[in-house]
């Protein structure tokens, strides 16, 4: 047992740090730090191009498709360093979600067509999984696709589509056999967002922002070559995708960054004339969540280690998801506590003005989603109880 990173891993981390110091554009970094998302589309595409130019466009892809081929430990270190440097996240929808499905189940033509454009930032993908009536119970989805010659005709409605307003493509689960059992009649389609009949309606969220949409499909014609794998076998690909979504699900990088911000706030803000951090109650709450984050970091490394040795890569991810989201939500809650009444002044859907203040309350509200999206924490607890504890 040795909890230290190897000298090679340390050297790798230093290399990432040096790269980030040299290549992360200052304007992007500042916007990320302030939570300013006004240029999110440009920023993310630009950053993807920079990473790609360095050969680091896809940390989690195999080399044959232009990925780095890094092991999970290096992927983890890369994520931590990017978050610490306030680099933008790389959106998961292309890189971590649809790409693995195409690599595993797609045709050669699909691979050739889609993967390079994901890698270099040309195509922005979004997700068409959930529907208004199908949240945790995804298999009950209703959007249907009927074969008409060389096309599928798609009709229905998707919900909780993140940042689809910037997207070029959407991957969708659609029902192709209404007569079959729920899981049996589902197919996996790739749809060009410019196709006629697609309409996006932004959903205003709790925090006042617009990061998700409803997507309406009104007899949208999709060429059959955009079917992934076999018709009616989409549930298999969907589950495969959800498994891949879980890489770095613990969100250690984000929690570390927000914890550092919380500590900064504790030193900067004063209550009754003294820095907040001098209040033993507040300092203890910070210490408690810092401890829990340390525990989760080690747990995350244990899971990575087990995965690398082909042991149990599965249900442990549920623990990482639950604890990771609980910790980040708690840090965010403490940021609002640090602000106190300062958090009351609030502008909706207006971005940060260089201060921690306006972001913290918006982020607190926005992050309530963490325990709901991506498989709610209730679903994750079901998985632990049933799969790990065999109850």
């Amino acid at each position: 047992m040795d909890l230290n990173f190897s000298p090679e891993e340390i050297a790798f981390r230093d290399e990432v740090r040096a790269f980030l110091a040299a290549h992360l554009p200052e304007d992007i970094r500042d916007r990320v730090r302030r939570g300013d998302e006004r240029h999110v589309s440009d920023d993310l595409r630009r950053w993807q191009r920079i990473l790609h130019a360095h050969g680091w466009g896809a940390a989690m892809w195999p080399v044959e498709h232009g990925g780095t081929g890094w092991d999970k430990t290096r992927q983890y270190l890369f994520e931590i360093e990017c978050a610490a440097a306030d680099a933008p996240i790389q959106l998961p929808f292309g890189l971590k979600m649809v790409a693995p499905v195409i690599m595993r189940y797609g045709s050669q033509a699909q691979k050739d067509r889609f993967l390079p454009r994901i890698l270099d930032g040309s195509d922005w993908w979004c997700q068409g999984y959930s529907e208004p009536g199908s949240g945790s119970d995804l298999a009950s989805l209703k959007t249907r696709a009927e074969r008409d010659g060389d096309h599928y005709v798609v009709y229905g409605q998707k919900a909780w589509n993140t940042l689809g307003q910037h997207a070029d493509w959407i991957f969708c689960l659609v029902r192709t056999d209404p007569a079959a059992k729920p899981q049996r009649g589902i197919s996996f389609l790739l749809i060009d967002m410019k196709t006629p009949g697609i309409r996006l309606q932004p959903t205003k969220l709790l925090d006042g922002g617009f990061e998700v949409n409803e997507v309406f499909f009104d007899d949208v014609r999709v060429p059959v070559e955009n079917l992934v794998g076999e018709e009616n076998a989409g549930w298999t690909y969907a589950k495969f995708l959800l498994g891949h979504e879980r890489t770095n699900i613990a969100g250690i990088g984000a929690s570390r960054r927000e914890l550092a911000r919380l500590r900064r706030m504790g030193r900067e803000f004063r209550r009754h004339g003294a820095p907040l951090i001098d209040d033993p109650l507040f300092a203890t709450r910070i210490a408690q969540v810092a401890l829990e984050l340390e525990a989760l970091e080690v747990t995350n490394l244990r899971v990575i280690f087990a995965e690398a040795r082909q042991q149990a890569p599965g249900p442990e991810a549920s623990m990482l998801k639950i604890r990771g989201t609980e910790i980040l939500q708690r840090i965010s809650e403490l940021q609002v506590e640090a602000l106190g009444a300062r958090a009351l002044a609030y502008e909706e859907d207006v971005d940060g003005d260089g201060e921690d203040v306006p972001r913290a309350a918006a982020q607190y509200m926005n992050l309530r989603k963490l325990s709901i999206y991506g498989g709610s924490n209730e679903i994750q607890r079901n998985i632990i109880a049933q799969t790990i504890l065999k109850l």
Binding site: L206, E333, G340, L344, E347, S371
Partner: protein, 372 residues
């Protein structure tokens, strides 16, 4: 011991409740919130017509004299209705300050204007460094009047007020000064609040006539009493929100079907809603206690009860708000349902007029000093 309400009290609550239920729906409110002014003068006039702006004005002063209990009942309704008009700021808090301090003609002038809805007044007290931090705003004699200097932070409903009732340190203790909003040297920076209301950060450097000061001598005791009554009413407002968000959550859980069953049938969720219910009931009990304490003679006992209530109701606000969103799933994250608006009002409540930590400290210090 009596937990019943009189018929008059019930009628007061019913009138405002009916009014808000019929004419103050989410969409209507959204238009008010999105508007330039952030409030509806028409709604305000209608509240005045219902008599609610004279609710907590003593009968001797021409008001209804409904007292803390009537104020509590109406505040529950303003909370449940997510009212953004300045009922709490003007008709409760400022009205109480005036009632406790102003004398003679000034008193009559202010109370009449407030009761009729003709003018709005707000108490400008907190300065941003903690709820009960020592005042930095000062008032010193200058010529025939007072020079008032300082800053006030996030004063709810100041942008629509005619009068600011500004607290300041004077040579003889705390003074409360009636300042016209438009006066020279009053600089208002309007802000929106996270619960869809309007407030202002205020910078003051203003010369006031002698009679701008309400009452004579140290106003600390009266101010403490008014603030505590304001907290009790704010707790009642939050209780109204809690009732609404709990009902909405339970209804959603009964109707939302996943895996072939209403999610309200899942035992893990049932137990969490049972916990929400218990938190709301404890919040109700403490709101009653705080309301009852408003009439306490002993200021320490009053302070302890008020702070106890603010802590319990705030903790319920946080937990029940979070759970309500969680149990609504993705729908809880949208602006479309009332749950998100209730969540935001509960969050604002938690942060207003003293946080959990600040009131826990006051409670601890008050009770411990008692040797209890």
């Amino acid at each position: 011991m009596d937990f019943a309400f009189t018929e008059e009290q019930q009628m007061l609550q019913d009138s405002i409740r009916r009014y808000l239920e019929s004419g103050y729906g989410l969409e209507h409110r959204a238009r008010i919130v999105a508007g330039d002014e952030g409030w509806s003068p028409r709604t305000w006039a209608e509240l005045a017509e219902l008599g609610l702006l004279a609710l907590d004005i003593d009968e001797d002063d021409g008001g209804i004299g409904a007292g803390p209990v009537g104020t509590m009942l109406v505040s529950q309704a303003t909370g449940a209705g997510l009212l953004v008009e300045p009922f709490h700021s003007s008709a409760v808090l400022a009205t109480r300050v005036v009632s406790l301090l102003a004398q003679g003609e000034r008193r009559a002038q202010l109370l009449d204007a407030l009761a009729s809805g003709e003018a709005i007044a707000v108490l400008a007290h907190e300065e941003g460094d903690g709820w009960d931090a020592p005042l930095e705003t000062t008032a010193v004699s200058e010529g025939d009047g007072w020079r008032l200097r300082g800053r006030k932070a996030c004063v709810y409903h100041a942008p629509m007020a005619r009068w600011l009732l500004v607290t300041a340190r004077c040579a003889d203790g705390v003074g409360v000064f009636a300042v016209e909003c438009g006066a020279d040297g009053v600089d208002l920076r309007a802000v929106r609040t996270l619960d869809g209301q309007r407030a202002a950060d205020i910078a003051l450097d203003v010369l006031l006539p002698t009679d701008a000061r309400l009452g004579a001598g140290d106003a600390a005791a009266a101010l403490g009493q008014a603030l505590d009554r304001g907290i009790a009413a704010l707790c009642a407002d939050a209780l109204g929100v809690l009732d609404r968000i709990l009902v909405a959550t339970v209804r959603y859980a009964r109707e939302r079907v996943q895996f072939g069953s209403p999610i309200g049938r899942f035992q893990a969720l049932q137990h969490r809603m049972a916990d929400m219910y218990m938190q709301v009931e404890q919040a109700r009990s403490m709101t009653y206690l705080a309301t009852s304490a408003c009439l306490q003679d002993d200021p320490d006992a009053r302070r302890a009860a008020i702070s106890a209530a603010k802590v319990i109701v705030s903790q319920a606000a946080r937990r029940v708000g979070q759970e309500a969103v969680q149990l609504h799933g993705g729908m809880g994250m949208t602006d479309e349902l009332d749950v998100s608006h209730c969540f935001r009002r509960l969050l604002a409540f938690e942060l207003r007029m003293g946080t959990i930590d600040e009131h826990l400290r006051r409670y601890r210090e008050t009770v411990q000093a008692d040797g209890a």
